[in-house]
Symmetry: C2
Subunit: 324 residues, 2 copies
């Protein structure tokens, strides 16, 4: 054996968003020796949510980063803390799971994958070139740069409509471009968007190109039913057209669905008995903070039960130092 294997922890949690942090709260309280890996300091998608009002128990609307901070501090109070790293690959055998990160290697008796999901892009000409120059995937982060301007927003789901409402309070005008003839968002959000006097809708339309040299100057639209094309003059383009799970680093280790999301049973167990998944990264998640938190809690309590019923494996790291 060429090198000493890393210390064996009870539990490694990949991702410090809502699912990973909830898991950390319960793991800490359960006195599991736990590592929570997150490249960004935690919070996950909560960091880019302007206002949260539907997480059960909130007495008033709260900025996402504030709820993220509360959860992280609560987790740390109970003894679990964040390690700044990100998984690049994972291996597993019958007894342990090994994670290779950018800065180190980690080994645990169990793993929770709570790496979340990220925004899908349009993949049209101009999009990549103009990212950070008017093309954005986060209204909360970038909206203020477009005060007084007209912007386009692409999408029709919850995030799209929520972000349209946010932008409408900052910018001069929002045109929501949606490939279908109706929204998929929550009714209450739809109603608010229809009532806003500076939001209009380009129905059954797709963006074929984002225009501009140094910065966004407009978008090129095509009407999907008629094929008719037109140009919309806007200074910003906000893209909310879906999410991709952060599961590439898993290789073929556990079963994924056709979209790349991790398939679990109702206990959050994946196809490998020592690997669990929680939050937006799992298949069929409805992708809410409330459900991520539930998933993380379910995963830890089932892991605790699993670990309580078995004898910990010999820690190879320690054995190697005393045996030839």
């Amino acid at each position: 054996m060429s090198s000493t294997p890393p210390e064996l922890h009870d539990l490694i949690i990949l991702g410090g968003g809502a699912a990973g942090t909830a898991a950390g709260v319960y793991a800490g309280r359960g006195r599991l020796d736990t590592l929570v890996l997150d490249a960004m300091g935690g919070g996950g998608q909560m960091n880019i949510i302007d206002t949260i009002e539907n997480y059960p128990g909130l007495t008033a609307a709260m900025p996402g980063p504030e709820l993220a901070r509360q959860m992280r501090e609560q987790m740390e109070r109970f003894g679990a803390s964040l390690t700044f790293d990100q998984a690049e690959s994972v291996e597993a055998d019958d007894d342990t799971v090994s994670v290779t990160g950018a800065y180190g290697r980690y080994r645990g008796r169990a793993l929770i994958v709570a790496t979340g999901a990220r925004h899908r892009e349009l993949c049209v000409p101009g999009e990549e070139r103009l990212q950070g120059r008017g093309v954005s995937y986060c209204a909360t982060c970038d909206g203020a740069f477009f005060a007084g301007q007209r912007v386009a927003l692409i999408g029709g789901g919850d995030s799209a409509v929520k972000e349209a409402l946010f932008l409408s309070r900052i910018v001069d005008h929002v045109t929501v471009i949606h490939r279908r003839d109706r929204l998929r968002a929550e009714q209450v959000m739809q109603e608010r968007a229809f009532e806003a006097d500076n939001i209009d809708f380009a129905w059954s339309s797709v963006v074929t190109e984002i225009l501009g040299e140094e910065k966004v100057a407009g978008v090129r639209l095509r009407q999907v039913d008629t094929g008719e094309q037109r140009t919309l003059d806007v200074g910003g383009v906000f893209v909310f057209v879906g999410v991709l799970p952060n599961t590439e680093f898993l290789g073929g280790l556990i079963d994924l669905d056709e979209g790349g999301f991790i398939v679990t049973d109702i206990d959050m167990r994946t196809s490998h008995p020592r690997i669990f998944a929680a939050g937006d990264v799992r298949a069929r998640s409805v992708r809410q903070i409330a459900t991520a938190v539930g998933d993380g809690t379910t995963a830890v309590l089932n892991i605790q039960q699993m670990l309580d019923t078995e004898t910990p494996p010999r820690d190879l790291a320690r054995v190697c130092e005393v045996e030839p």
Copy 2:
């Protein structure tokens, strides 16, 4: 047809605890016409929790009834409210679900069963007779009556140890009686119980009788390995030996597990396509507020998707009034 059927709602939620209230929050925001039935004004088992500190996002420990109140007010803010009633039976066909309560009949296009679970009893002589006279299933409710006294507490799980700690701050002494030789509770709670100087343990012991005439005077114990019997002089007996799901009113309508808990898929769907379950009442729940809230949210968002894709059935109530 002998009588007009009740008004058809989008959704009926049975139970106003954590799962039902979270479902109500999302149903209200989704503009579903929703009835939440609860015989007691909501809160469920949160009402009998002294202190909650592990619900993700809490900045400090909070009494259960306080979190219950915050959730209920949040639900009402978004347009769903409680109806004081309790389901006595449920029927369902392809299009609708009908609930018969103590005070009325209700009809919905979908149903969430979030009726929770209740405490299991010891079923030993003296227990029923002395309920409310020293036998209790809720330390938070009744602990104050036993200040300065010695009490017995039966059980070894999370609730048992949590309640033992609560009681130890109020009463003179707590003896935890457990049929096994170790606890099943969270490690951190176990450690705290072992450190408390007025908690001791009667291991591998069962209660065979609760003694006393007008009020509890003691418990009769049997050592399960040796058969040895002894009497413990106590003024109170707190019983935490498991939970029973509140599913009797369902008859054989949907599939239950061997313990009577409702079997669901990962979307919280039961064996009937219009009936969902959430929280402690569902099979394999880890019975935390965090998971109840996740379940309720998952159920509503899947129901909303189901209802959005179908044409509402003709409301027979309205048809009956204009047709002969």
